[in-house]
Protein backbone atom coordinates (compact mmCIF):
# COMPACT_ATOMS: atom_id res chain seq x y z
CA UNK A 1 0.00 0.00 0.00
CA UNK A 2 1.64 3.18 -1.12
CA UNK A 3 1.32 6.29 0.99
CA UNK A 4 0.45 9.64 -0.55
CA UNK A 5 1.46 12.90 1.00
CA UNK A 6 -0.59 15.97 0.25
CA UNK A 7 -1.59 19.35 1.60
CA UNK A 8 -5.12 20.08 2.75
CA UNK A 9 -5.82 23.64 3.80
CA UNK A 10 -2.12 24.22 4.35
CA UNK A 11 -1.70 21.14 6.51
CA UNK A 12 0.56 18.26 5.48
CA UNK A 13 -1.41 15.04 5.63
CA UNK A 14 -0.96 11.48 4.45
CA UNK A 15 -3.38 9.03 2.95
CA UNK A 16 -3.27 5.65 1.29
CA UNK A 17 -3.50 5.26 -2.46
CA UNK A 18 -7.14 4.76 -3.37
CA UNK A 19 -8.42 6.76 -0.43
CA UNK A 20 -10.63 9.76 -1.14
CA UNK A 21 -9.69 13.32 -0.29
CA UNK A 22 -12.82 13.43 1.84
CA UNK A 23 -11.74 10.55 4.06
CA UNK A 24 -8.17 11.74 4.43
CA UNK A 25 -9.38 15.23 5.33
CA UNK A 26 -11.81 14.00 7.98
CA UNK A 27 -9.22 11.65 9.44
CA UNK A 28 -6.90 14.58 9.90
CA UNK A 29 -9.51 16.82 11.42
CA UNK A 30 -10.62 18.81 8.39
CA UNK A 31 -14.40 18.52 8.35
CA UNK A 32 -15.58 18.92 4.77
CA UNK A 33 -19.35 19.54 4.62
CA UNK A 34 -21.47 16.76 3.09
CA UNK A 35 -25.01 15.49 2.79
CA UNK A 36 -25.04 12.57 0.38
CA UNK A 37 -21.93 10.87 1.74
CA UNK A 38 -22.34 8.36 4.52
CA UNK A 39 -19.51 6.10 5.60
CA UNK A 40 -20.06 2.45 4.74
CA UNK A 41 -21.79 2.77 1.37
CA UNK A 42 -20.58 3.89 -2.05
CA UNK A 43 -20.44 7.57 -2.94
CA UNK A 44 -22.31 9.34 -5.72
CA UNK A 45 -21.02 12.91 -5.52
CA UNK A 46 -24.51 14.35 -5.85
CA UNK A 47 -24.91 16.97 -3.12
CA UNK A 48 -21.89 18.99 -4.29
CA UNK A 49 -21.28 20.32 -0.76
CA UNK A 50 -17.96 18.52 -0.49
CA UNK A 51 -16.51 20.17 -3.58
CA UNK A 52 -12.92 21.28 -3.09
CA UNK A 53 -10.36 23.27 -5.03
CA UNK A 54 -7.34 21.35 -6.24
CA UNK A 55 -4.36 23.37 -7.38
CA UNK A 56 -3.74 23.04 -11.09
CA UNK A 57 -7.29 21.93 -11.85
CA UNK A 58 -9.83 24.28 -13.30
CA UNK A 59 -12.82 22.30 -12.12
CA UNK A 60 -13.98 21.92 -8.57
CA UNK A 61 -13.93 18.26 -7.59
CA UNK A 62 -16.22 16.29 -5.32
CA UNK A 63 -13.83 15.23 -2.56
CA UNK A 64 -15.84 12.10 -1.82
CA UNK A 65 -15.21 10.86 -5.37
CA UNK A 66 -11.64 11.98 -5.91
CA UNK A 67 -8.67 9.95 -4.76
CA UNK A 68 -5.64 11.49 -3.14
CA UNK A 69 -2.51 11.94 -5.24
CA UNK A 70 1.06 12.60 -4.22
CA UNK A 71 1.78 16.32 -3.84
CA UNK A 72 -1.82 17.43 -4.25
CA UNK A 73 -2.65 20.84 -2.86
CA UNK A 74 -6.29 20.91 -1.74
CA UNK A 75 -8.31 23.79 -0.37
CA UNK A 76 -11.61 22.91 1.27
CA UNK A 77 -12.89 26.15 2.67
CA UNK A 78 -12.23 29.14 0.42
CA UNK A 79 -14.59 32.08 0.15
CA UNK A 80 -15.79 30.80 -3.22
CA UNK A 81 -16.56 27.32 -1.89
CA UNK A 82 -18.38 28.74 1.12
CA UNK A 83 -20.59 30.92 -1.00
CA UNK A 84 -21.36 28.02 -3.36
CA UNK A 85 -22.27 25.79 -0.42
CA UNK A 86 -24.59 28.39 1.08
CA UNK A 87 -26.36 28.83 -2.23
CA UNK A 88 -26.74 25.06 -2.66
CA UNK A 89 -28.34 24.89 0.78
CA UNK A 90 -30.68 27.72 -0.14
CA UNK A 91 -31.72 25.74 -3.20
CA UNK A 92 -32.41 22.71 -1.03
CA UNK A 93 -34.41 24.64 1.54
CA UNK A 94 -36.49 26.18 -1.23
CA UNK A 95 -37.07 22.87 -3.02
CA UNK A 96 -39.45 21.16 -0.61
CA UNK A 97 -40.82 21.76 2.85
CA UNK A 98 -38.03 22.11 5.39
CA UNK A 99 -39.72 23.94 8.21
CA UNK A 100 -37.70 22.77 11.18
CA UNK A 101 -40.15 23.86 13.85
CA UNK A 102 -42.56 21.09 12.91
CA UNK A 103 -40.07 18.33 12.09
CA UNK A 104 -39.33 15.18 14.07
CA UNK A 105 -35.64 15.71 13.41
CA UNK A 106 -35.47 19.28 14.68
CA UNK A 107 -32.15 19.63 16.45
CA UNK A 108 -30.75 16.38 15.03
CA UNK A 109 -31.05 17.06 11.31
CA UNK A 110 -27.95 17.06 9.15
CA UNK A 111 -29.46 19.57 6.75
CA UNK A 112 -30.17 21.91 9.64
CA UNK A 113 -26.64 21.38 10.99
CA UNK A 114 -25.16 22.17 7.61
CA UNK A 115 -27.13 25.40 7.37
CA UNK A 116 -25.98 26.42 10.82
CA UNK A 117 -22.38 25.43 10.21
CA UNK A 118 -22.19 27.23 6.88
CA UNK A 119 -24.06 30.31 7.99
CA UNK A 120 -27.05 30.01 5.71
CA UNK A 121 -29.70 31.84 7.66
CA UNK A 122 -32.29 32.87 5.10
CA UNK A 123 -33.56 31.88 1.67
CA UNK A 124 -33.66 34.48 -1.05
CA UNK A 125 -35.60 32.51 -3.64
CA UNK A 126 -39.13 31.40 -4.13
CA UNK A 127 -40.15 28.33 -2.13
CA UNK A 128 -41.39 25.67 -4.50
CA UNK A 129 -43.37 23.88 -1.79
CA UNK A 130 -44.78 21.00 -3.80
CA UNK A 131 -47.54 19.17 -1.98
CA UNK A 132 -46.12 15.69 -1.50
CA UNK A 133 -47.41 12.65 0.28
CA UNK A 134 -46.52 11.31 3.68
CA UNK A 135 -46.43 7.51 3.57
CA UNK A 136 -47.25 6.03 6.97
CA UNK A 137 -48.34 2.63 5.70
CA UNK A 138 -45.38 0.83 7.26
CA UNK A 139 -46.05 -0.43 10.75
CA UNK A 140 -42.89 0.98 12.30
CA UNK A 141 -41.63 3.70 9.98
CA UNK A 142 -42.82 6.68 8.00
CA UNK A 143 -41.66 8.47 4.84
CA UNK A 144 -42.32 12.16 4.39
CA UNK A 145 -41.37 13.13 0.84
CA UNK A 146 -41.62 16.78 1.78
CA UNK A 147 -38.45 16.45 3.86
CA UNK A 148 -36.52 14.37 1.34
CA UNK A 149 -33.43 15.90 -0.26
CA UNK A 150 -32.93 13.00 -2.71
CA UNK A 151 -29.46 12.21 -1.37
CA UNK A 152 -30.14 8.49 -2.10
CA UNK A 153 -28.44 7.30 1.09
CA UNK A 154 -31.47 5.07 1.76
CA UNK A 155 -31.30 3.63 -1.77
CA UNK A 156 -27.64 2.77 -1.39
CA UNK A 157 -27.79 1.33 2.10
CA UNK A 158 -30.79 -0.81 1.19
CA UNK A 159 -29.05 -2.12 -1.92
CA UNK A 160 -25.46 -2.42 -0.72
CA UNK A 161 -25.77 -3.34 2.93
CA UNK A 162 -29.19 -4.90 3.38
CA UNK A 163 -29.24 -6.33 -0.15
CA UNK A 164 -32.95 -5.73 -0.58
CA UNK A 165 -33.01 -2.84 -3.07
CA UNK A 166 -36.48 -1.84 -1.96
CA UNK A 167 -35.83 1.83 -2.63
CA UNK A 168 -35.04 3.57 -5.87
CA UNK A 169 -35.76 6.85 -7.59
CA UNK A 170 -38.71 7.48 -9.83
CA UNK A 171 -39.10 10.30 -12.35
CA UNK A 172 -36.36 12.76 -13.07
CA UNK A 173 -35.17 16.26 -12.23
CA UNK A 174 -37.08 18.15 -9.62
CA UNK A 175 -39.93 15.64 -9.94
CA UNK A 176 -37.82 12.75 -8.68
CA UNK A 177 -39.25 10.78 -5.79
CA UNK A 178 -38.02 7.95 -3.62
CA UNK A 179 -40.11 4.86 -4.29
CA UNK A 180 -40.52 1.45 -2.70
CA UNK A 181 -40.90 -1.39 -5.21
CA UNK A 182 -43.36 -0.35 -7.92
CA UNK A 183 -44.35 2.82 -6.10
CA UNK A 184 -46.81 1.11 -3.79
CA UNK A 185 -47.22 2.18 -0.16
CA UNK A 186 -44.14 1.20 1.84
CA UNK A 187 -46.15 -1.06 4.11
CA UNK A 188 -47.11 -3.21 1.14
CA UNK A 189 -43.60 -3.68 -0.18
CA UNK A 190 -42.64 -7.31 -0.88
CA UNK A 191 -38.93 -6.69 -0.73
CA UNK A 192 -38.64 -4.53 2.41
CA UNK A 193 -37.21 -6.44 5.35
CA UNK A 194 -38.15 -3.71 7.84
CA UNK A 195 -34.52 -3.57 8.94
CA UNK A 196 -34.65 0.17 9.42
CA UNK A 197 -31.21 0.92 8.04
CA UNK A 198 -32.64 3.48 5.63
CA UNK A 199 -34.25 5.32 8.52
CA UNK A 200 -30.98 5.46 10.42
CA UNK A 201 -28.95 6.89 7.52
CA UNK A 202 -31.52 9.44 6.36
CA UNK A 203 -30.00 12.87 7.05
CA UNK A 204 -33.33 14.64 7.50
CA UNK A 205 -36.78 13.88 8.81
CA UNK A 206 -37.85 12.23 5.56
CA UNK A 207 -37.54 8.72 7.00
CA UNK A 208 -38.53 8.41 10.64
CA UNK A 209 -39.72 5.97 13.27
CA UNK A 210 -43.38 6.23 14.05
CA UNK A 211 -44.51 7.62 17.34
CA UNK A 212 -41.89 10.35 17.52
CA UNK A 213 -43.04 13.92 17.73
CA UNK A 214 -41.28 17.19 16.95
CA UNK A 215 -37.59 17.03 17.73
CA UNK A 216 -37.75 13.53 19.21
CA UNK A 217 -36.24 11.46 16.42
CA UNK A 218 -32.70 10.20 17.05
CA UNK A 219 -30.65 8.42 14.48
CA UNK A 220 -27.62 6.21 14.89
CA UNK A 221 -25.27 6.02 11.95
CA UNK A 222 -22.37 4.27 13.68
CA UNK A 223 -24.04 0.88 13.21
CA UNK A 224 -23.18 1.03 9.53
CA UNK A 225 -19.50 1.21 10.25
CA UNK A 226 -19.71 -1.86 12.51
CA UNK A 227 -21.54 -3.88 9.91
CA UNK A 228 -19.26 -2.90 7.06
CA UNK A 229 -16.06 -3.38 9.04
CA UNK A 230 -17.25 -6.68 10.42
CA UNK A 231 -18.14 -7.83 6.95
CA UNK A 232 -14.79 -6.80 5.47
CA UNK A 233 -12.83 -8.45 8.26
CA UNK A 234 -15.02 -11.55 8.34
CA UNK A 235 -15.68 -11.06 12.04
CA UNK A 236 -18.87 -13.06 11.80
CA UNK A 237 -17.20 -16.29 10.88
CA UNK A 238 -17.56 -18.78 13.73
Amino acid sequence: MSVKTLTIDGKMVTGIAGETIFNVAWNSGVRIPRLCHVGGVSDVGACRLCLVEIEGQKKLMASCMTNVEEGMVVRTNTERLQSHRRLILELLFAERNHICAVCVMNGQCELQDMAEELGMDHVRMRYLFPKLEVDTSHERFGLDHNRCILCTRCVRVCDEVEGAHTWDLKGRGVNSLIIADLGEPWGQSDTCTSCGKCVQVCPTGALFSKGRTVGEMRKDRRFLKYIVTAREKHQWIR
Binding site: D159, A164, H165, T166, W167, D168, L169, K170, G171, R172, I179, A180, D181, L182, G183, D190, T191
Partner: protein
Protein backbone atom coordinates in the same frame (compact mmCIF):
# COMPACT_ATOMS: atom_id res chain seq x y z
CA UNK B 1 -44.32 3.82 -32.19
CA UNK B 2 -46.93 1.27 -32.87
CA UNK B 3 -49.78 1.36 -30.42
CA UNK B 4 -52.00 -1.60 -29.87
CA UNK B 5 -55.21 -0.55 -28.23
CA UNK B 6 -56.86 -3.29 -26.21
CA UNK B 7 -59.79 -4.42 -28.29
CA UNK B 8 -63.05 -6.12 -27.32
CA UNK B 9 -62.71 -9.69 -26.13
CA UNK B 10 -62.97 -12.02 -29.07
CA UNK B 11 -61.19 -15.13 -30.15
CA UNK B 12 -58.88 -13.18 -32.42
CA UNK B 13 -58.08 -10.72 -29.68
CA UNK B 14 -57.29 -13.54 -27.28
CA UNK B 15 -54.75 -15.06 -29.61
CA UNK B 16 -53.30 -11.61 -30.22
CA UNK B 17 -52.91 -11.24 -26.48
CA UNK B 18 -51.19 -14.59 -26.16
CA UNK B 19 -48.94 -13.57 -28.97
CA UNK B 20 -47.93 -10.42 -27.21
CA UNK B 21 -46.80 -12.29 -24.15
CA UNK B 22 -44.92 -14.70 -26.39
CA UNK B 23 -43.26 -11.89 -28.32
CA UNK B 24 -42.21 -10.18 -25.11
CA UNK B 25 -40.81 -13.44 -23.80
CA UNK B 26 -38.87 -13.87 -27.03
CA UNK B 27 -37.42 -10.37 -26.74
CA UNK B 28 -36.23 -11.13 -23.22
CA UNK B 29 -34.74 -14.47 -24.17
CA UNK B 30 -32.96 -12.85 -27.13
CA UNK B 31 -31.12 -10.75 -24.55
CA UNK B 32 -30.67 -13.87 -22.39
CA UNK B 33 -32.78 -12.29 -19.63
CA UNK B 34 -29.98 -9.88 -18.84
CA UNK B 35 -30.82 -6.90 -16.66
CA UNK B 36 -28.71 -4.74 -18.98
CA UNK B 37 -31.39 -5.13 -21.63
CA UNK B 38 -34.09 -3.51 -19.48
CA UNK B 39 -34.57 -0.53 -21.78
CA UNK B 40 -34.75 -2.76 -24.88
CA UNK B 41 -37.34 -4.94 -23.17
CA UNK B 42 -39.40 -1.94 -22.06
CA UNK B 43 -39.37 -0.68 -25.66
CA UNK B 44 -40.72 -4.00 -26.86
CA UNK B 45 -43.32 -4.15 -24.08
CA UNK B 46 -44.61 -0.70 -24.89
CA UNK B 47 -44.73 -1.48 -28.59
CA UNK B 48 -46.81 -4.56 -27.87
CA UNK B 49 -49.10 -3.26 -25.18
CA UNK B 50 -49.24 0.46 -25.89
CA UNK B 51 -48.29 1.38 -22.36
CA UNK B 52 -46.65 -0.14 -19.31
CA UNK B 53 -48.94 -1.44 -16.58
CA UNK B 54 -47.75 -2.30 -13.05
CA UNK B 55 -48.34 -6.00 -13.79
CA UNK B 56 -46.23 -5.79 -16.90
CA UNK B 57 -43.44 -4.05 -15.02
CA UNK B 58 -43.64 -6.58 -12.24
CA UNK B 59 -43.34 -9.53 -14.58
CA UNK B 60 -40.44 -7.91 -16.44
CA UNK B 61 -38.69 -7.30 -13.11
CA UNK B 62 -39.16 -10.92 -12.14
CA UNK B 63 -37.96 -12.30 -15.48
CA UNK B 64 -34.90 -10.06 -15.65
CA UNK B 65 -34.21 -10.62 -11.95
CA UNK B 66 -34.22 -6.89 -11.20
CA UNK B 67 -35.57 -5.07 -8.16
CA UNK B 68 -39.05 -3.75 -9.02
CA UNK B 69 -38.09 -0.26 -7.90
CA UNK B 70 -35.27 -0.21 -10.41
CA UNK B 71 -37.62 -1.16 -13.23
CA UNK B 72 -40.08 1.58 -12.34
CA UNK B 73 -37.18 3.98 -11.85
CA UNK B 74 -35.98 3.36 -15.40
CA UNK B 75 -39.47 3.38 -16.90
CA UNK B 76 -40.20 6.79 -15.37
CA UNK B 77 -36.81 8.30 -16.13
CA UNK B 78 -37.27 8.18 -19.89
CA UNK B 79 -40.03 10.24 -21.47
CA UNK B 80 -40.61 7.67 -24.17
CA UNK B 81 -42.24 5.22 -21.80
CA UNK B 82 -45.84 5.76 -20.86
CA UNK B 83 -47.49 4.34 -17.75
CA UNK B 84 -51.00 5.29 -18.75
CA UNK B 85 -53.09 4.38 -21.79
CA UNK B 86 -52.80 6.61 -24.82
CA UNK B 87 -55.72 8.58 -26.21
CA UNK B 88 -57.53 7.83 -29.48
CA UNK B 89 -55.59 10.61 -31.13
CA UNK B 90 -52.10 11.75 -30.42
CA UNK B 91 -50.48 15.12 -30.92
CA UNK B 92 -46.76 15.52 -30.44
CA UNK B 93 -45.69 19.13 -30.66
CA UNK B 94 -42.10 19.69 -31.67
CA UNK B 95 -40.42 22.15 -29.32
CA UNK B 96 -37.11 22.28 -31.13
CA UNK B 97 -35.59 25.73 -31.37
CA UNK B 98 -36.66 26.19 -34.99
CA UNK B 99 -40.26 25.39 -34.11
CA UNK B 100 -40.05 27.55 -31.00
CA UNK B 101 -38.82 30.52 -33.04
CA UNK B 102 -41.75 29.99 -35.39
CA UNK B 103 -44.38 29.80 -32.67
CA UNK B 104 -44.68 26.19 -31.48
CA UNK B 105 -45.58 27.30 -27.95
CA UNK B 106 -48.85 28.71 -29.30
CA UNK B 107 -49.75 25.29 -30.68
CA UNK B 108 -48.94 23.54 -27.43
CA UNK B 109 -50.84 26.13 -25.45
CA UNK B 110 -53.95 25.54 -27.58
CA UNK B 111 -53.69 21.77 -27.12
CA UNK B 112 -53.10 22.04 -23.40
CA UNK B 113 -56.04 24.37 -22.97
CA UNK B 114 -58.41 22.16 -24.93
CA UNK B 115 -57.15 18.67 -24.08
CA UNK B 116 -54.45 17.90 -21.55
CA UNK B 117 -51.07 18.99 -20.28
CA UNK B 118 -48.11 17.75 -22.26
CA UNK B 119 -47.41 14.14 -21.37
CA UNK B 120 -51.02 13.46 -20.43
CA UNK B 121 -54.23 12.26 -22.01
CA UNK B 122 -57.47 14.22 -21.89
CA UNK B 123 -59.95 12.97 -19.27
CA UNK B 124 -62.28 11.61 -21.96
CA UNK B 125 -59.44 9.55 -23.41
CA UNK B 126 -59.73 11.31 -26.73
CA UNK B 127 -56.40 13.05 -27.17
CA UNK B 128 -52.89 12.51 -25.85
CA UNK B 129 -50.70 15.58 -25.89
CA UNK B 130 -46.94 15.33 -25.93
CA UNK B 131 -43.98 17.47 -26.74
CA UNK B 132 -40.77 16.39 -28.42
CA UNK B 133 -37.34 17.92 -28.29
CA UNK B 134 -36.85 18.08 -32.02
CA UNK B 135 -38.39 15.86 -34.64
CA UNK B 136 -35.94 17.03 -37.25
CA UNK B 137 -38.49 18.58 -39.56
CA UNK B 138 -37.08 22.05 -38.99
CA UNK B 139 -37.88 22.98 -42.58
CA UNK B 140 -41.56 22.60 -41.77
CA UNK B 141 -41.53 24.53 -38.51
CA UNK B 142 -43.67 24.67 -36.49
CA UNK B 143 -44.32 20.96 -36.83
CA UNK B 144 -46.61 18.52 -35.06
CA UNK B 145 -46.78 14.73 -35.31
CA UNK B 146 -50.50 14.04 -35.53
CA UNK B 147 -51.38 10.36 -35.23
CA UNK B 148 -47.94 9.40 -36.47
CA UNK B 149 -47.83 11.77 -39.41
CA UNK B 150 -45.78 14.95 -39.55
CA UNK B 151 -47.85 18.04 -40.22
CA UNK B 152 -45.92 21.21 -40.82
CA UNK B 153 -46.39 24.98 -40.76
CA UNK B 154 -49.37 24.85 -38.42
CA UNK B 155 -51.13 27.73 -36.73
CA UNK B 156 -53.08 27.62 -33.45
CA UNK B 157 -56.20 28.25 -35.50
CA UNK B 158 -55.64 25.16 -37.62
CA UNK B 159 -55.14 23.15 -34.45
CA UNK B 160 -58.40 24.49 -33.03
CA UNK B 161 -60.24 23.56 -36.22
CA UNK B 162 -58.66 20.14 -36.17
CA UNK B 163 -59.76 19.53 -32.59
CA UNK B 164 -63.30 20.69 -33.45
CA UNK B 165 -63.31 18.24 -36.34
CA UNK B 166 -62.48 15.23 -34.18
CA UNK B 167 -65.07 16.33 -31.67
CA UNK B 168 -63.06 17.63 -28.74
CA UNK B 169 -65.24 19.74 -26.52
Amino acid sequence: MATTTPSKPSKAADTARDNRAKLLERAMSRHSYSGDALIEVLHTAQELYGFLTPDLLKSIARKLRLPPSRVLGVATFYHFFSLEPKGEHSYIVCLGTACYVKGALGLLETLERRCAKAGRTSPDGKVSVNSARCIGACGLAPAVIRDGEIVGRLTPRQVTEDLDRIGVK
